[in-house]
């Protein structure tokens, strides 16, 4: 028999059980909190369980959700991308300007996706080449992009006229908003890449221990470039969708969205210490943040209360995360 043999009882099983149990608790806890919020808001917030509100939520969470997916890739490599919100804003203005200048829709989309990807690759390249902390590189990029966004649109809303483009964001297919379908498709493809492919596995390996990944022969630099490139590409998609949905380019779009994206990924189980997190978890995290924000809004709380709750939850979950990784057992 070649099956796993059972070890002396004292050695390994405890740590494994503890960490698996912890992951399970987190996942079930997340589902429990979501269910609890849905129940509470259904009874207390009028209009919460209406078709109109569900539709609205689906549209809102799609845009932030795409950023959270982007953030998940980066966080799994133990990095962070603070520039996703401002890249969304920059991409959003860029597509509005392109369309306003009469570019065909496909061409405008291609340009914005290329720009987003290049910005992401610049982030990753600087992190690799200059060995700078991701936090600083992407914070700097946040500032650069915010400035560029204001300059390119003269600080004004940018109007454009492209009905096919805006209709896509307004319409639904099989009763579900198109932009929510885009979000679902992105989640599925991202989940596939992350959990099924070799490149996805390298992202976890780099986040788990960069030096051992390097020594094993993984191209660490290429892996880091890839995740920041993906992040930039996805942030550009989110910007395109938001501009389509609002039927104009808004120079302030995406401000503070990096908090939503990071909070959703972390609440969904991604660890800022790297190598932990899943697309399903991030999807649940996005759902939680959306329901919380929407419910508090319907209950006539100041919109800032949701921000406060979100920020507090983020800090709490990162704090709890410290107990998640079992310390390397001492022999």
């Amino acid at each position: 028999m070649t099956g796993p043999q059972h070890a002396a009882p004292a050695m390994p099983a405890r740590g494994q059980a503890a960490s698996t149990r912890w992951d399970l608790v987190m996942r079930l806890g997340l589902l429990g909190i979501i269910a609890l919020l849905v129940i509470v808001f259904s009874f207390t917030a009028s209009g919460f369980l209406t078709l109109q509100n569900v539709d609205n939520n689906a549209r809102q969470m799609a845009v932030v959700g795409i950023l959270a997916v982007a953030e998940t890739f980066v966080i799994i490599t133990a990095g962070i991308d603070l520039s996703v919100g401002s890249l969304l804003g920059f991409g959003g203005i860029l597509i509005a300007l392109s369309l306003a200048h009469g570019l065909p829709i496909a061409g405008a989309i291609a340009i914005v996706l290329a720009v987003g990807t290049i910005v992401g690759l610049v982030n990753g390249g600087l992190i690799n080449a200059a060995a700078l902390p991701p936090f600083i590189v992407t914070l700097g990029m946040l500032g650069i992009l915010r400035g560029l966004t204001q300059i390119s649109g003269n600080g004004q809303q940018v109007a454009y006229n492209a009905p096919t483009f805006t209709n896509f964001a307004v319409n639904s297919t099989f009763g579900v908003p198109n932009i929510f379908w885009v979000f679902v498709a992105i989640c599925l493809v991202s989940g596939f890449v992350l959990h099924q492919t070799r490149r996805g596995r390298y992202m976890y390996a780099v986040g788990s221990n960069l030096e051992s990944a390097r020594r094993a022969g993984i191209n660490v630099g290429a892996t880091i470039l890839t995740v920041y490139g993906i992040s930039g590409f996805l942030a550009a998609i989110a910007g395109i969708l938001l501009t389509a949905r609002q039927a104009q380019g808004d120079p302030n779009a995406g401000t503070g969205y990096e908090l939503d994206a990071i909070a959703a990924a972390v609440l969904g189980g991604a660890s800022l210490f790297g190598a932990r997190g899943s697309m399903l978890g991030t999807f649940l995290g996005v759902l939680l943040v959306q329901i919380l924000t929407n419910g508090l809004n319907l209950l006539n709380f100041d919109p800032q209360v949701a921000r406060i709750a979100e920020g507090a939850l983020l800090i709490l979950f990162v704090y709890l995360d410290r107990w998640r990784k079992p310390k390397m057992a001492v022999a």
């Binding site: 050695m11 390994p12 494994q16 960490s19 051992s212």
Partner: protein, 261 residues
């Protein structure tokens, strides 16, 4: 000094290796050899040059002079990657493994098996196949873990070291270098790793074993090379020579003794 005569040629042979770091002579005209199916221990006091020699063999350090042959062919490594490609692996302690990944993922790290056909072209990994081969490989070397699906950070130190060693064997290393493989381990865990090192040797692999622990070296090694002040000062046969002899060579007491005779 007893040098066991061997019929076959060494797998790895280093001749006249010298290395200076500024004014410090780290290695001076050192010869070293290890045969297939042999555990050659490297011993010596701190700074005697053991680790520098190991780093030269594994491509981490490029020597100033000297030659290395692998299976009779001259080689010169510029990087550890070159050495690995040639079949010389180093079993690093915790630096070898990705703690958050499970055992099969670690055994196959950077050498994943892909699914056959179209899925493989999409870069999809074959989890079931890697898991099966990992189980077979661990059981062939008698490495026991609670579950093959455990993450490596849930394993004991000895188990992790065993996985790191098993990985080098899985990738067909001709020579495995182990620098203090049991330094951080307790008694029972050390015994596990030593048992594994002997199995690896019996499997036909050449093992370079570096340790400070003389009783352990005398237990595990087939041949002991003693370093002192950047030079090779002797070769011992653990079946015949004593630990006192090893200590006197390491500390230079043997030279003094000779000089005063």
């Amino acid at each position: 000094m007893v040098v066991t005569a061997r019929a076959e040629k060494p797998v790895l042979e280093a001749r006249g290796i010298s290395k200076r770091f500024g004014n410090v002579i780290a290695l001076e005209d050192v010869d070293f050899e290890v045969h297939a199916g042999e555990i050659a221990a490297l011993i010596g006091d701190n700074g005697a040059g053991k680790s520098t020699l190991a780093n030269v063999i594994s491509g981490v350090i490029v020597p100033d002079s000297g030659s290395i042959t692998l299976r009779g062919n001259p080689i010169s490594f510029r990087t550890p990657k070159d050495a690995r490609a040639a079949g010389i692996e180093t079993a690093y302690q915790d630096l070898a493994l990705a703690p958050d990944l499970d055992i099969p993922a670690n055994l196959f790290l950077a050498r994943e098996i892909l699914r056959p056909g179209a899925l493989g072209r999409l870069d999809v990994v074959d989890r079931a196949e890697m898991r099966k081969q990992a189980e077979e490989h661990l059981s062939a070397f008698g490495i026991k873990v609670g579950s093959i699906d455990q993450r490596v950070d849930t394993l004991s130190g000895g188990q992790r070291q065993s996985i790191a060693v098993a990985r080098t064997v899985l990738w067909g290393a001709a020579v495995i270098i182990m620098d203090e493989p049991t330094a951080a381990l307790g008694v029972a865990q050390t015994a596990l790793v030593i048992e594994l090192v002997k199995k690896v040797r019996d499997n036909g692999t050449a093992v370079v074993f570096i340790s400070h622990n003389l009783p352990q070296v005398f237990d595990v090694a087939d041949r002991i090379v003693v370093m002192r002040h950047a030079r090779r000062v002797g070769t011992l046969d653990p079946r015949i020579d004593t630990m006192d002899r090893a200590v006197s060579l390491m500390t230079g007491a043997a030279e003094l003794h000779l000089r005063h005779l």
